[in-house]
């Protein structure tokens, strides 16, 4: 006997870039017991459940087309906060925004934040996010003291780096496929000012930019590069920032207040920022982007070159949140991001080749961002001792197949350079590429963990079925065999 899921629960759910559209039965629990019940419902009806936070992933990691999506955003209570130690315990639906707004006045800031403040902690740990300080601070998971999780078996586990450490290092970063975080205890960073000191400089070539990211990393707390994807040399601009120390901020009480940490309502003093995306869309084409990027680069190389200025923490960290719905400016087809992580030695050449390959295919990236990283020991770790380059692409009905073909070409360059990928950003990887960057051992470990935590395969996402299920259910050859086969086929 099947339980009928009410059709009223059907909701349109998409990726952050609005380029992948699905419909699924959405449940929004507030209690752990409801989640456990949903697992049983799914099991009885041979359905699967995907976990979803704020849906800020760029690809299909928080989608489960035609099946159940468990939206955890209502589980958003802050459970404990100790301003003495900076330790906070939260439910998984609490967002980065909620955290900093709660703790800032006590002088604490999340040790790792993404380029947007809207992710939930559950989603951020599902992916194990990094910030513009990755080489220094590591991933968010490295600041987690403990979490509790509900496994699809019904078992509730408490994990710390010492207790159940295998689960600690695999649930974090496993894209919501092994268990549900139900509470998270995080150590925040003590800060003495709500401002950072920012330095900006232009970099005429990509190789120079990457060299700077490496060389100057010791001098700053954050460092990030903007790359002009329409330019052959990958010219761009670096922004680096420091927390202010001790008495560098004369009015910490002011800068650590919420009133101070606001994003402006208007641009150029008059355009309401809610209308901004609408005007941006007229530049979201190859010539428009060239124009904007060229202007931006020349600004960075002249007026802004080697300038230092003071900026609020949120203005520096959440630049992208400045423009609400900016992703809408990419038009009806939306956007995707292609992000890869390459070692120090191979990064510069490979990234330049990738930029040029994209240009040659008539698909220059409209936004390129570089960062400096360090490896970590989580199961599906994306980071390496090296760099990342994120490339944003406009999707249209006409270019979908060409974009996929370009991604396939770029994948080969990344693999040849010993690189890695990141599920939070992916919508173009293929089964064989995943085997080649994750490797046999990681996939075997994941398979064993899936068997232990989720023997009935209740936790599934579109990404799981696309990239991982073949290894778990064994209808795919062992990754190594697959690599050999795909090499033979070429």
């Amino acid at each position: 006997m099947t339980d009928l899921l009410p059709l009223d629960r059907l909701a349109s759910l998409d990726n952050f870039g609005h380029s992948i559209k699905t419909v699924a039965y959405r449940y929004r629990p507030t209690q752990v017991a409801e989640i456990a019940e949903l697992f049983r419902l799914a099991e009885r009806n041979s359905l699967s459940v995907a976990l979803r936070g704020s849906g800020r992933s760029y690809g299909d990691a928080a989608l489960n087309a035609g099946q159940i999506v468990l939206d955890i955003q209502r589980m958003n209570r802050i459970l404990e906060w100790d301003p003495g130690t900076g330790v906070i315990k939260v439910e998984p639906g609490v967002t980065l925004q909620q955290i900093w707004q709660y703790t800032l006045e006590d002088g604490y800031w999340p040790p790792v934040v993404s380029g947007t403040m809207f992710p939930t902690l559950g989603g951020a740990l599902g992916m194990n996010i990094h910030g513009k300080n990755n080489w220094r601070a590591g991933t968010l998971g490295e600041h987690v003291l403990a979490f509790t999780a509900l496994l699809p078996t019904g078992e509730e586990v408490t994990c710390t780096p010492e207790q159940n450490s295998d689960l600690f290092y695999s649930l974090i970063g496993s894209a919501g496929l092994l268990g549900v975080f139900t509470s998270i205890t995080l150590k925040l960073k003590k800060i003495h000012s709500g401002n950072v000191r920012v330095s900006a400089w232009a970099t005429p070539k990509l190789a120079g930019m990457l060299q700077d990211l490496d060389q100057f990393k010791a001098d700053y707390d954050y460092i990030v590069g903007w790359v002009d994807g329409t330019n052959r040399n990958g010219r761009g601009q670096i922004h680096a920032a420091d927390y202010l120390h001790g008495d560098e901020d004369t009015h910490p009480g002011k800068t650590l207040s919420l009133d101070y940490q606001t994003l402006p309502d208007t641009f150029f003093g008059l355009m309401p920022k809610s209308a901004m995306w609408f005007f941006m869309q007229f530049f979201m084409n190859n010539p428009g982007t060239w124009l904007v990027n060229t202007a931006k680069y020349w600004m960075s190389a002249t007026l802004e070159h080697r300038k230092q200025y003071i900026q609020s923490l949120i203005a520096f960290n959440f630049l992208l949140d400045y423009v609400p719905n900016w992703e809408r400016s990419y038009g009806r087809g939306g956007l995707i991001q292609y992000q890869s992580f390459l070692p120090l030695a191979t990064g510069p050449d490979a990234y330049l080749e990738m930029l040029r390959r994209a240009q040659k295919r008539g698909l220059p990236t409209y936004l390129g961002v570089t960062k400096r990283h360090r490896p970590d020991k989580f199961l599906f770790t994306h980071a390496v001792d090296g760099y990342s380059l994120a490339m944003d692409y406009k999707v249209t009905n006409g270019n979908r197949a060409r974009l996929q073909a370009l991604a396939n070409e770029l994948n080969e360059i990344v693999l040849a350079a010993g690189g890695r990928f990141y599920f939070a950003k992916d919508s173009t990887l293929t089964v064989d590429v995943v085997a080649r960057y994750l490797g046999d051992e990681t996939l075997q470990r994941f398979r064993a963990l899936k068997q232990r935590c989720d023997p009935h395969r209740l936790l599934q996402t579109d990404l799981y079925r696309r990239l991982l299920r073949p290894y778990v259910d064994g209808d795919a050859p062992a990754p190594s065999a697959l690599v050999a086969a795909s090499a033979a086929a070429d």
Binding site: T2, L4, L5, L7, L10, A11, S12, N15, S19, I20, K21, T22, V23, N45, S46, L47, G59, D60, A65, G66, Q67, I336, V395, R400, A401, L403, Q404, A407, S427, T428, T430, V431, D432, D462, R466, P470, A476, P477, L482, A485
Partner: protein
């Protein structure tokens, strides 16, 4: 592994055909698979559906990936089973873009025959089954603000004739229901297509008395697929029936009462 060209960037749409085991439904399955659709095939005769699915996999499998045509055994008069089956199909195929209600039954009756069992059987398959299925699809499509609902009605629904009161009624009701759905759903971006075939060379036609302008199911399928693409509201297939039915619809009753067809 045969990696299909499907990716989140290049997804393949899905069509559900209720009544896919022969005739127009079968031909439409071939046509839509050729256009890149994955398929959910519903009918009672699963042996025929399995054969069809195998043929579709052979033709389109390399492009659309394994499992691109799935078979579901179902009698459309088992109304209570519809919601669960609909849920299962949506879960297994992940999405639905086109839902075609094609199941149909024609029980010939004599000019002076009144047979409630036959009439009821036709209403149950042609009309009630359609309501059961399209009600589900309508709710999905309204929420996704997209989708094509297709009902295979008939020219027979345009007038009540001496030869086929029950069948006429079943198709007239279906056409009216489709019109109502269109009026409900077009504001949500959903397209509703009413298809009125004339004579199509299928098993059903074997029982028909006099026929003319007979087309193949493949021709009908081609017209239907084109009408889906063009978001037409009502089509006749072949198109010339539109003209003929315009005339027939305007024959005054005092004349129509004297006709023998």
């Amino acid at each position: 592994m045969a990696s299909s060209t499907r990716s989140p960037l290049t997804p393949s749409p899905v069509a559900l055909i209720i009544g896919a085991s022969s005739g127009i439904g079968e031909a439409l399955a071939h046509r839509l698979a050729g256009d890149g659709y994955r398929l959910a095939l519903v009918a009672r005769r699963t042996d025929r559906l399995e054969q069809l699915a195998a043929a579709l996999e052979a033709a389109a499998g390399p492009r659309l990936g394994p499992g691109c045509a799935r078979v579901y055994a179902h009698d459309v008069t088992d109304y209570a089973a519809v919601p669960a089956l609909f849920q299962k199909i949506l879960a297994e195929l992940g999405r639905l873009d086109v839902v075609v209600y094609n199941a149909g039954l024609l029980q010939p009756v004599g000019l002076d025959e009144y047979d409630f069992a036959k009439d009821r059987a036709m209403l149950e398959v042609n009309t009630l089954g359609a309501l059961a299925w399209l009600n589900q699809a309508a709710q999905l499509f309204e929420r996704q603000r997209a989708g094509h609902l297709v009902g295979i009605s008939s020219v027979a629904g345009d007038r009540g004739r001496v030869g086929a009161p029950g069948y006429n009624t079943s198709k007239a009701a279906l056409s009216t229901y489709l019109e109502a759905l269109r009026n409900r759903l077009s504001r949500h971006g959903v397209h509703v297509l009413t298809v009125k075939p004339g004579f199509v060379r299928t098993e059903m036609l074997k029982t028909a008395a006099r026929t003319f302008w007979v087309i193949t199911p493949e021709q009908a399928a081609k017209d239907i697929a084109a009408a889906v693409r063009a978001r037409r509201q009502v089509i006749y297939t072949p198109a010339r029936w539109g003209l003929l039915m315009f005339v027939i619809r305007h024959i005054p009753s005092f004349v129509f009462r004297r006709l023998k067809f």
